[in-house]
């Protein structure tokens, strides 16, 4: 984990309200250990933005790091207005990684909303290692998608309003894909209701699953103790030193589906 001043080398709206930003970040890139990890972005003005903004790493290529973000509030609005050549102060790489994906399993990757970044990252990684995986991406409406619906290649897009791909949430598609594969392993990231639904399904069906979760982060470095999530069961010794809560920035953001509790 380092702090690095990184030049923006790309910043484009790739779908409705969804932006892709690329940085030159040699130091962070060389410390990067895999899909699941994230950055903490400092927004320019120290007075106005007290806490950094966490963003998953969507891709690392050589010195270059990509994030994909959705305009959510003041901070992401400001990010979308940043120009190529400007420099941002990044803290990273942070957090743990999706693990256990290998030839023995067929990964089913589920991403919703802003949760698609780490999932896309993992999808590309699987491709790189020639591990066939299925990718299910959900959005509210067609204009938020930037990939092609391509079931024959295992890429399924869903929309809540049916304007693109399969109508409905990602869950029915997850169920369908699941029923077609042997040795599935689910990886999911997305909004809370989606993660809950995925968790219910995979626990019921005893599918090994990893979820990348979000929480409000004050620091990303374990110092503020703000980013806790409730645990479903008790782990031995974690960075949070506690039994009921886990620090998402240090022990997560990736958890086994049976580890965390969303209520």
């Amino acid at each position: 984990m380092i702090i690095e001043q990184c030049k923006i080398i790309r910043n484009e709206e790739i779908a409705g309200g969804i932006w892709e930003m690329k940085f030159s970040a040699p130091g962070i890139a060389s410390n990067y250990t895999g899909p699941g990890q994230f950055l903490e972005i400092l927004l320019e003005n120290k007075w106005s933005f007290t806490v950094r903004r966490p963003m998953s790493i969507a891709n690392v290529e050589g010195n270059r790091i990509t994030v994909i973000f959705k305009i959510f509030g003041r901070g992401t609005k400001l990010l979308s207005e940043r120009k190529i050549g400007e420099v941002l102060d990044l803290l990273g790489p942070l957090g743990n990684v999706f693990s256990g994906w290998n030839e023995k399993y067929v990964p089913i990757l589920v991403g919703g909303g802003v949760g698609l970044a780490p999932i896309l990252n993992l999808f590309k990684e699987c491709q790189k290692y020639k591990i066939h995986s299925n990718l299910i991406l959900g959005a509210r409406t067609g204009r938020e998608h930037f990939m092609a619906h391509d079931p024959s290649n295992g890429i399924y897009l869903t929309t809540d309003d049916g304007t693109l791909g399969i109508s409905g949430t990602v869950i029915p598609t997850l169920k369908n894909v699941f029923s077609d594969v042997d040795n599935p392993m689910v990886y999911a990231c997305g909004p809370l209701p989606m993660l809950k639904a995925v968790q219910d399904f995979v626990i019921q069906n005893k599918i090994p699953t990893q979820l990348s979760v979000e929480s409000y982060m004050g620091c990303g470095t374990g110092l503020c103790q703000g980013c806790v999530i409730k645990k479903r069961n008790i782990k031995a010794k974690t960075h949070s030193y506690h039994e009921r809560y886990s620090l998402v920035c240090m022990d997560g953001p990736v958890y086994s589906a049976d580890e965390v509790c969303f209520d």
């Binding site: 106005s48 409000y216 503020c224």
Partner: protein
């Protein structure tokens, strides 16, 4: 030759400050709850540059803290309600304290309790073991734990009683950390001084609240939390200035510091040292950087001793 003498002068700018019988190599400490126990900070941080480290509040028993959400950003600030999550004094003494012998930075152990006895028991445990702890900061002011000692922090006579009792248990530095959520912070500072505190620190967080106007939910599980960050700097400065006119013991200024000029403001208002809190979340190495900036400031203004600035605001 003239140039040489001037060069000599900056080299000699003296950053040492004294609180009680302890000398600190510089006046920049990290604030409780924003730097862990000092033993587990990011690799890129050089803790030995700091004048002191104040640990997160340690209680008699381990505490898991409050349910999430615990944090939310506000205009130029943030609210937190961590709920004194900490490992407890036994684990702390066993696992964290040994690390301190490896660094050359003074450690101040912040302690919190819900009864006088709890505070005493913690100090007795620490005093029974030899350790590199330089002193205690007594958190009588945590606003987000029902039994977090708030009763002490708002009442002069309880503050006096607590301070007197703890004073009798230790020769180490005893610092009382004050709450801004009172009518008269100077009166509480006076109570602490008269009861034997070596210093007071001010301010802890300001009671605040934040609501999500779309979901109507409180952004903090416990509803009320503690406001910190730049928004509170004017409040911290006012507190230090008021206390400065009421006590003779050193004051450690806290609240909203993000750069070296903020540190200067606190000195001018009456602080002998400062603590950096929320700024560590943006960059845990902020303290190191501010020390460098302070050196430049003192050089430019030919200041020979940083402590010569204390209370020098021109009115």
């Amino acid at each position: 030759m003239g140039q040489f003498i001037q060069l000599m002068r900056f080299v000699l700018t003296d950053f040492r400050i004294q609180i009680g019988n302890i000398e600190f190599k510089n006046p920049l400490f990290t604030a409780s709850g924003t730097f862990g126990y000092g033993n587990d900070v990011p690799d890129f941080v050089d803790v030995s540059k700091l004048g002191g480290i104040v640990t997160k509040s340690i209680t008699l028993h381990p505490r898991e803290g409050n349910p999430p959400p615990r944090i939310v950003e506000t205009p130029s600030g943030m609210i937190n309600s961590i709920g004194l999550a900490n490992v407890g004094v036994d684990h702390y003494m066993r696992e964290m304290v040994p690390f301190y012998s490896t660094i050359d930075t003074k450690i101040i152990m912040n302690i919190a309790g819900s009864t006088l006895d709890e505070y005493c028991e913690i100090i007795q445990k620490v005093e029974s073991i030899s350790s590199d702890i330089a002193g205690y900061e007594i958190n009588i002011s945590c606003p987000n734990v029902k039994k977090g000692g708030m009763e002490f922090g708002v009442d002069s006579s309880l503050t006096a009683e607590l301070t007197k009792t703890l004073r009798s248990l230790t020769e180490r530095l005893l610092i009382v950390k004050l709450s801004p959520n009172v009518t008269d912070i100077a009166a509480i500072a006076v109570a602490a001084e008269e009861s034997g505190a070596d210093a007071v620190s001010a301010i802890n967080t300001v009671v605040g609240m934040s609501i999500n106007p779309m979901t109507w939910k409180s952004n903090i599980y416990t509803v009320f939390g503690g406001l910190s960050g730049p928004a509170t700097k004017p409040i911290g400065l006012a507190a230090v200035q008021k206390i400065f006119h009421s006590v003779t013991i050193p004051i450690i200024g806290i609240g909203g510091i993000t750069n070296s000029l903020d540190v200067i403001e606190y000195f001018l208002a009456g602080a002998t040292a400062v603590q950096l809190g929320t700024v560590n979340y943006q960059d845990p190495s902020s303290g190191e950087k501010m020390i460098d900036d302070l050196k430049t400031y003192c050089k430019d203004l030919s200041i020979e001793k940083i402590s010569s600035l204390v209370g020098k605001v021109k009115i």
